[in-house]
Each structure stands twice: as structure tokens, then as C-alpha cells.
């Protein structure tokens, strides 16, 4: 469970996000909202990439402010447009993530193989196409023993075959008890991902949508 308490995010003096209280239970969550509604900002706050006021607590125990190491071990994140240093190889990143997130290298390599990017494993990320970088970022987000995986537009950029693999990976991981918050503008996810609920980003805040309305 993820609990947000008095979360406020300012960009200079502009209040981009204001969430007085929000509890996100386990499940496969679809985060909806128009462009610029704060979906990515929300995910980045939860992932710990941006500073903010307030607190986020996972599993009623670990605060992002007070127990950051425990918190980030339980939250993984894949950006919509991932950016990695061009001189690092896929191998470097997989090893870094596995080392810090206590992940399994063989599992990550297998995911890369399924997404058809294993051939570029030893090559510098700078030589990857945007689709390959996206696939790599998704594989990295699945490394370790996270409780929540945040995926920002996971279905864009990648090819149709990879899309099916990613949906399967999400489903498998969800069965293992991992929760997801996924943003997507694509309609394909409704058929391939069985969302358990939805959230709406609008009016500088995030709210849960009752199950009937989310369909």
C-alpha cells in the first residue's frame, strides 16, 4: 500500500501537484489524465526523482523522507522517455540495478532476450534506437523485489511483439504480488492489461476513480 500525505510539488512558485491524502492499495492501476495534468510529475515524486513537500509511505512502514533506502527498494520506475549516459552498456545498467536492487541478472537477461534487445547487451546505450532504450528501461524496472512498479507510458515506442511481451511481464509480476501504476494513452491496454482500478490526474491533484467509472 502506498500512502501520500500532504504532498505538494512546486515548480518555482507554480503548484503543479497538491494531494492532501491518497491511499493506493495493491493492484494494477491505470493513471489517466490529459497531457500536462501531472501524471509524470506524480510518478517521479513517488519514484524519488523530484523533491516535494509532504510524505509518501509504503506498506505503512517506510517513509520516502525517513527510510529512503527501504522505500526505493520497494519502488521501481520506468520513464516515458528514458535517458541513460550514452557510454554505458545495457550490461552496465543491468548490473547496477541488480546490485543496488538486489535483483537477478539472469532474469533481467531473459527479459531482454524476450524483448529482442539481448544482442545489444554489450553495446553502448548511445547506439540503441529509442525503442531499444525503452525496452531496456522496462527490463530495469522489473529488476529486484519491488512492491510497486511505476510505468510511464510503457506501451509507446515499442513494437507490437514487444508490446505483448511487456503486457505478459506485467501480468506475471502482478500475479507475484507486485502492484503497478501505469500511465497510458493507448487503448490497447484495456484488452491486454486487466486493470483493477484507475486514478485520474486533473486539477493539480490525483484522485481514485470508482471502479464503475474507470471502465
Amino acid at each position: 500500500m502506498l500512502k501520500l500525505i500532504n504532498v505538494k510539488k512546486y515548480y518555482s512558485s507554480f503548484l503543479a501537484l497538491d494531494i492532501p491524502e491518497l491511499t493506493i492499495g495493491e493492484g494494477l492501476w491505470w493513471l489517466r489524465g490529459e497531457n500536462g495534468s501531472g501524471k509524470t510529475t506524480f510518478l517521479k515524486l513517488v519514484a524519488g526523482l523530484h523533491p516535494f513537500n509532504g510524505d509518501i509511505i509504503i506498506d505503512d512502514e517506510y517513509s520516502i523522507k525517513k527510510q529512503r533506502l527501504h522505500f526505493t527498494r520497494r519502488i521501481n520506475y520506468a520513464e516515458a522517455e528514458p535517458l541513460y549516459p550514452s557510454f554505458l552498456t545495457g550490461r552496465d545498467l543491468v548490473h547496477l540495478y541488480c546490485k543496488t536492487k538486489d535483483g537477478n541478472i539472469d532474469e533481467a537477461v531473459e527479459n531482454l532476450r524476450q524483448l529482442h534487445v539481448l544482442a545489444a547487451y554489450e553495446k553502448a546505450v548511445g547506439t540503441y534506437s529509442s525503442g531499444m532504450v525503452k525496452k531496456l528501461s522496462l527490463v530495469l524496472a522489473f529488476i529486484g523485489h519491488s512492491r510497486f512498479i511505476l510505468l510511464d507510458e510503457p506501451l509507446i515506442t515499442i513494437d507490437v511483439q514487444a508490446l505483448e511481451v511487456v503486457c505478459r511481464m506485467i501480468g506475471d509480476k502482478h500475479k507475484q504480488g507486485v502492484s503497478f501504476i501505469i500511465t497510458s494513452h493507448q487503448s490497447v491496454q484495456k484488452e491486454q492489461l486487466m486493470f483493477s482500478g484507475a486514478m485520474l490526474a486533473a486539477g493539480n491533484t490525483i484522485t481514485l476513480i470508482p471502479h464503475e467509472d474507470s471502465k
Partner: protein, 358 residues
């Protein structure tokens, strides 16, 4: 062009300081320098070599810009006719080469006055050829043509687990080679001159420490680059469970590796300029100071230009404190202060650029 001058502001400020700030009488210094250039062909060749290096720097920068995906809109220049395209690229090159053209202009004025027509001719031809060849190179890149068929160069790929601290160094190596070269050359030159010219009467660690301070100041532009890379290139690592002590340790290790050439040079002064008991402060002081330069960049000083007064202020304070021979205490205080600032601000400050992008 603006971006070129912004990116290289640190080097320009440094060169301006070195060429016009350090000499006591800059006018006479440069007049004498120009007379020297006009008296000796070998000196002129050396100056042309320096200009050539600058020209290569310009070429690398513009070619990278033209190949940058974010700037792919620049290829709409191909819609212009070839003559206009060439004129446009020549204009770019002239503006970018303005510092050397201005200096070349000054040499030409004195050369014409003195009737050194061969030198004048050589300088004019060299600069015209440099500008035209550069513009021609940009044209080739813009039109997506290749000058020569690609010859595969055999290379050895060494596979190794890159430790986290190495990422920043690799970034410098891949993207800031010229800055590294200039900084290291200057830094080591200072130490070399000190080691070979200063003969201590009695044992005193302070001259060496002041020399080390000067050497470290020259690294300020590199520190800004490290910070920018950490903020932009390594922002994804904030989601990784790496503790603050480990992150700070990685920073200190990066700095230590970066300063290895300086430590090797300083080691040459063992027995003459320092003895064993002072060695820890000679090593710890530069590492701590560079870390401190890094951590103060959390306070909105996010560009080379903004960092100059900050670096100047800290260096001035260190200069006066070093005169009182504080020993290893100063290095320890700076190190602790750096860690406190780092741990307080690492997760709580974000770059202004990130704000605007979000």
C-alpha cells in the same frame, strides 16, 4: 554560436584571466608577445597550432550540434540554395572563431606597421583556409555526406563491471576531453613550475598548499560539468537504493581518481617541499575542496558563470586560512562541511532546467 560560448564560458573566462589578468601590464605583455610572433617563424607555427586546436574544437562542437537529434531541425538549412548555405556556415564559423580572429587582427595591424609582409600573408591565408575548411566540413555534415569512406578501426573492448564512481569520470572522458586536457595541463604546469623554481629556505608546507589550492581552482569548470552530469545524466539513480554516505564516497572517489596526476606530481616534492606528517593534508585538502566546490553548486549556482564568484570566494577564504598553517584541520573541516551539505541537499534540490522541462 551562443551555446558554444555558454558551454565554454569557463575556458574563456580562464583564458581571459590568464592572458589579461595575470600579466601586470597586459598591453605591454601582448605587444611583446606579438612582436615575438612576428620575429620567429617557429613561434608563429606554434601560435597557428594553437589556433588549429581551437578550430578543431569549433568543428567538433558544430558537427556534434548538427548530429544531435534534438537539433535535427537545423537540417531545414538544406532548403536554402547551396550559396546561401555556404555563406550561412561561413558566418557561423567567423563568429565562433572571433577570439582568434580578433587576436590575429591585432597581429596583422602590427605586422603591417612593421612591414612583415610574409608573416601577414601567412596569417591571413591560414585563417581563411581554417574558416573555409571548417565551413566546408559543416556543409558535408549538413548534407549528410561523408568525406572519406569509413575505415573500420580495430579496437579492443574490455568488459568490466564499471563501478558507480566511474560513471562521472567516463562522462568527462567521453564528452569533455578538451576541458580535461586544458585543466590538467594548466594544473600540472602550475605544480611543475613550483617544483622546479621554488627552493625553500626552511621547511614550510604553506607554499606547496597554496600551489595546490591554485591547481584545484583550475578544476572548477570540471566540477560544474560533474554536477550537471549527476543532475541530468544520472538522475535515474535517485530511484536506486544507494545511501547518502555511499553516494558521497563515490563522489570523493571520483575526485580522488581525477586528481591522481596532481598527487603524482606533488609526490616529486617529497623531502624538499613536504615530509610524511604533512602528506595526509596534501591529499585530503584537494579532495575535500573539490567536493566542497561540488556541494555548493546545490545553491542554484548551476552554470560555470554562476560558479565563478562562489569558487573565488571559497578560494580566497582558503588562501587566508592556509597562511596560518591550519594543518589537516582545514581539510577535515571542509570534508565534514561538504558531507553535511551533500546529505542535506542531495534529495532536496533539483536543477532549474529540470523545473522548466517538467
Amino acid at each position: 554560436m551562443n551555446h558554444f560560448y555558454k558551454v565554454n564560458a569557463g575556458i574563456f573566462i580562464f583564458l581571459f584571466f590568464a592572458l589579461f589578468g595575470l600579466p601586470q601590464q597586459p598591453y605591454y605583455f601582448h605587444t611583446a608577445l606579438i612582436h615575438g610572433i612576428l620575429e620567429s617563424q617557429s613561434f608563429l607555427v606554434f601560435v597557428m597550432f594553437v589556433w588549429l586546436l581551437y578550430g578543431l574544437k569549433c568543428i567538433v562542437f558544430i558537427v556534434n550540434q548538427l548530429n544531435d537529434q534534438k537539433l535535427s531541425f537545423l537540417h531545414c538549412l538544406n532548403n536554402l540554395n547551396r550559396r546561401k548555405r555556404v555563406l550561412c556556415l561561413l558566418y557561423v564559423q567567423v563568429l565562433i572563431c572571433m577570439p582568434i580572429l580578433l587576436y590575429a587582427g591585432a597581429i596583422l595591424l602590427i605586422g603591417i606597421k612593421q612591414g612583415k609582409w610574409i608573416y601577414v600573408f601567412e596569417i591571413v591565408v591560414f585563417n581563411i583556409v581554417l574558416i573555409c575548411l571548417s565551413a566546408f566540413t559543416y556543409l558535408i555534415v549538413l548534407e549528410r555526406k561523408t568525406l572519406l569512406p569509413r575505415i573500420p578501426i580495430p579496437s579492443i573492448v574490455i568488459r568490466y563491471d564499471k563501478p558507480f564512481f566511474l560513471f562521472s569520470l567516463l562522462h568527462l572522458w567521453h564528452t569533455q576531453k578538451q576541458m580535461l586536457l586544458v585543466t590538467k595541463s594548466f594544473s600540472l604546469l602550475i605544480l611543475w613550475i613550483f617544483m622546479h623554481t621554488y627552493e625553500p629556505v626552511g621547511y614550510d608546507i604553506r607554499p606547496l598548499m597554496l600551489c595546490v589550492l591554485l591547481s584545484i581552482i583550475s578544476h572548477s569548470a570540471i566540477v560544474v560539468q560533474l554536477k550537471i552530469f549527476d543532475d541530468e545524466g544520472l538522475s535515474f539513480t535517485k530511484n536506486l537504493p544507494i545511501s547518502i554516505p555511499n553516494r558521497f564516497l563515490a563522489l570523493a572517489t571520483t575526485v580522488s581518481v581525477l586528481l591522481i596526476p596532481e598527487f603524482v606530481f606533488v609526490w616529486k616534492g617529497y623531502g624538499v617541499h613536504f615530509s610524511w606528517p604533512d602528506f595526509p593534508q596534501i591529499v585530503l585538502f584537494p579532495i575535500s575542496l573539490v567536493c566542497f566546490f561540488y556541494t555548493v553548486l546545490f545553491f542554484k549556482a548551476t552554470t560555470v558563470k554562476q560558479s565563478v564568484p562562489v569558487v573565488f570566494g571559497i578560494s580566497t577564504a582558503c588562501f587566508f586560512i592556509l597562511l596560518y598553517n591550519p594543518g589537516i584541520v582545514l581539510a577535515l573541516v571542509i570534508c565534514i562541511l561538504s558531507y553535511v551539505l551533500y546529505s542535506s541537499y542531495y534529495y532536496h534540490v533539483e536543477r532549474k532546467a529540470a523545473d522548466s522541462n517538467a
